[in-house]
């Protein structure tokens, strides 16, 4: 982007800028494909930057578009949190009910230990950690999607 403020929007010859790959033949072990002549119109680059900046401004200034974007993100994150809490509510919250309606489950022994002890005393912790790990991954993906959406040039 060193040339971004170049005032003259001229077609760029191959050289130090974008078609750099063409200048290093054989890096990937393949013969260099005939590179189509890249034309980058600098006005376009700066317009793209402008759009991202404008979207950020829209977010900050609470325009309709900005507000809709944020609402979408909040809804996506909340739905994700609710879905995963439902997993926990069923997986762990169902246990007291299960033990209550089907007492036979409590008498099942695995390796000499009654099943409720294993489920609560041991298995519940890795389960909670796994749900937490999934949440962190998915929540970060939601945020990445949002960032991409805001910064994508052709919105």
């Amino acid at each position: 982007m060193a040339d971004a403020d170049d005032p003259v929007p001229v077609p760029r010859p191959g050289g130090s800028g974008a078609p750099e790959r063409a200048g290093r033949p054989g890096v990937s072990g393949q013969p260099p494909a005939p590179q189509p002549r890249a034309r980058i119109v600098l006005a376009e680059v700066s317009r793209r930057e402008d759009r991202a900046r404008r979207t950020r401004a829209e977010l900050a200034e609470q325009t309709r578009v900005g507000e809709a974007l944020v609402r979408g993100l909040v809804r996506a994150q909340f739905a994700l949190a609710l879905r995963l809490s439902l997993v926990v509510a069923i997986g762990l919250g169902g246990l007291p009910w299960l033990f209550a309606v089907a007492p036979a489950v409590g008498r099942v022994t695995v390796l000499g230990v009654n099943l409720p002890w294993l489920l609560l005393g041991v298995a519940s912790f890795p389960f909670l950690i796994a749900v937490g790990w999934a949440y962190v991954r998915l929540a970060e993906r939601n945020e990445q999607d949002f960032t991409d959406l805001v910064q994508r040039p052709e919105r």
Partner: protein, 546 residues
């Protein structure tokens, strides 16, 4: 007890705590260092510190004691204590960090712009903080009395003075290091003896945890009763015992049945079934709600999140905390189970909270190994009292210094620390009879019925208003506080009233949410005008650099 290693171990933990505190003091230069460790603590350190702060006397001593006494039904305590961090991760961690608020009252003002709501939140932070501090100090008093025979007030005062001085002098920066150290100490102090205990159990030819004839004394034992109880002796006689009574049992004698304790093998081993008692199921779900949702409302837990550099780091830190805390909670159950074999006399004395401290000596004998391990466990217990009390004291003092004294200076913080430490110390010295785990459970219930709805609705729902939040906190939190006061100070209850006040979360949490939403909808016009900007601040990823 005559274990020569215990006192040096406790002194060493205390000195290291103070020592790291002073090391931190040399680094703490500004008010920001004091309060939020300049937001420059690495996620691993921070996660260990959060874990160290969280694993309190209730976790270190109380869970094992409860398992010894009641069996499988109380395994929901450790599960819930860990799951609380998952709820925190899912609903609160990243947005709360991004809000930039330092305390819960800050969050109220930032999100809803109301001074009066801020004052109400301050009152609840102080109440929950003190409610949680009292059992920590009591636990310290009881532990020191159990292992060294010192008078009860000594341990409580020792912890209160060390913690108050350390927090007042070093602030948050210091306690971040102190608490990270204490997490690892607590884990070691339970894990290492647990390995020896398991080996000993193997070497003793794996005695049954629930022998068909009920638990029995392995050695000749003289029991000094600590709490009044009704005992059913093996020959069917029913005896009322009072504190101070001495009972002698020969090796092989069965343990008498104690009223209110799951002496019976099936009661202890199997979950409560339908038809026995609906109240049991209600209490279980109430406990689950309180612990799952209460963690996010504990003042000393939230304050830590401001030390993360940004929202994404807050999320990752919380996940690490969940793993650290989960690993720790595998251990107390082992102590509770082996306690059935090696320390059945605790069922008669009622001092089940002492099982973690007494078990190594009881199982491994009076040799050097047994004594060293007993000293290690006692040191871990003291780490638990010191670290949780430090965290609670820091957050209560932070709130008092900014909201009650109205000063943000380091001097103001120090003055607030002394005030915040003095009140629970006086309470702990005068209320020796409360059950550690029960009081901690009540603190969770109050937090789940007041701050959990405030945080969840404040972060995710634009429609929340200041009046709605205040009404929800007053009605839901107030109901939980009322239940606490009735349980702690009121007359003994039985049947449903007892269950509803001892485990209030299952009705107070839904009540708080309902009132908060209903009043907010009714006062829709009061929703802050800048809610859109606040939502953006809470949820926008850092990558955007808005």
């Amino acid at each position: 007890m005559g274990n020569g290693f215990v006192v040096p171990a406790i002194v060493a933990v205390t000195l290291v705590t103070v020592g790291i505190g002073f090391y931190g003091l040399r680094l703490a230069r500004t008010t920001s260092d004091f309060l939020v460790a300049s937001r420059a603590v690495s996620p691993t350190w921070n996660a260990a510190a959060i874990g160290g702060e969280y694993l309190s006397a209730a976790s270190f001593l109380g869970v094992a004691g409860l398992v010894l006494k009641y069996g499988v039904d109380v395994l929901w305590y450790p599960v819930g204590f860990a799951a609380g961090y998952l709820a925190l991760l899912l609903f609160v961690a990243a947005p709360l960090r991004r809000s930039g608020a330092f305390t819960l009252p800050d969050f109220c003002e930032l999100r809803l712009g109301s001074r009066r709501l801020r004052i109400l939140a301050t009152a609840f932070v102080i109440f929950i903080g003190w409610l949680y501090l009292v059992p920590q100090l009591q636990g310290a008093g009881l532990t020191l009395a159990t292992v060294t025979g010192s008078p009860y007030p000594l341990g409580a005062l020792l912890v209160a003075v060390v913690v108050t001085a350390n927090v007042a002098l070093g602030g948050m920066r210091a306690i971040t290091f102190v608490q990270a150290f204490q997490y690892w100490l607590k884990l070691t102090a339970l894990a290492v003896p647990a390995i020896f205990l398991a080996l000993q159990w193997q070497a003793d030819a794996r005695p049954a945890v629930t022998p068909p004839d009920g638990p029995a004394f392995r050695t000749a034992t003289t029991v000094v009763v600590e709490h009044s109880a009704t005992l059913t002796l093996p020959d069917g006689r029913i005896v009322e015992v009072r504190p101070g009574d001495e009972l002698s049992f020969a090796a092989g004698d069965p343990v008498p049945e104690v009223s209110g304790v799951a002496t019976d093998a099936a009661d202890w081993l199997l979950p409560s079934a339908a038809g026995d008692d609906d109240r049991g199921l209600f209490a279980t779900y109430s406990l689950i709600l309180a612990t799952f949702l209460g963690t996010m409302g504990l003042p000393h837990v939230l304050v830590r999140f401001y030390t993360n550099p940004d929202g994404a780091a807050a999320r990752r830190t919380t996940l690490v905390v969940l793993a650290l805390v989960g690993a720790f909670y595998l251990l107390p159950t082992i102590y509770g189970v082996l306690g059935r074999i090696y320390t059945p006399q605790l069922l008669v004395t009622g001092q089940t909270d002492a099982v973690v401290v007494l078990l190594p000596g009881a199982a491994l004998g009076d040799g050097t190994t047994g004594r060293l391990l007993a000293a290690l466990v006692a040191a871990g217990a003291f780490a638990a009292f010191l670290s949780t009390s430090s965290g609670l004291l820091t957050s209560v003092a932070g709130v008092i210094s900014t909201d009650v004294l109205g000063r943000g200076s380091v001097r103001g913080f120090r003055l607030a620390t002394v005030i915040a430490g003095a009140v629970p110390t006086v309470l702990a010295l005068n209320l020796a009879g409360l059950d550690v785990s029960q009081v901690v459970g009540l603190a969770f219930a109050v937090a789940a019925s007041s701050f959990c709805p405030l945080l969840v609705l404040g972060i995710w729902w634009r429609g929340l208003t200041d009046l709605g939040a205040a009404a929800g906190i007053l009605v839901g939190g107030g109901a939980a506080v009322g239940a606490v006061l009735v349980t702690v100070l009121g007359p003994p209850l039985s049947g449903w009233p007892a269950t509803l006040t001892a485990q209030p979360a299952a009705w107070t949490v839904p009540l708080a949410f309902t009132v908060m939403v209903a009043v907010s909808v009714a006062t829709r016009r009061r929703a802050p005008a800048d809610v859109g900007a606040t939502m953006l601040r809470l949820h926008a990823p850092e990558a955007l650099r808005l």
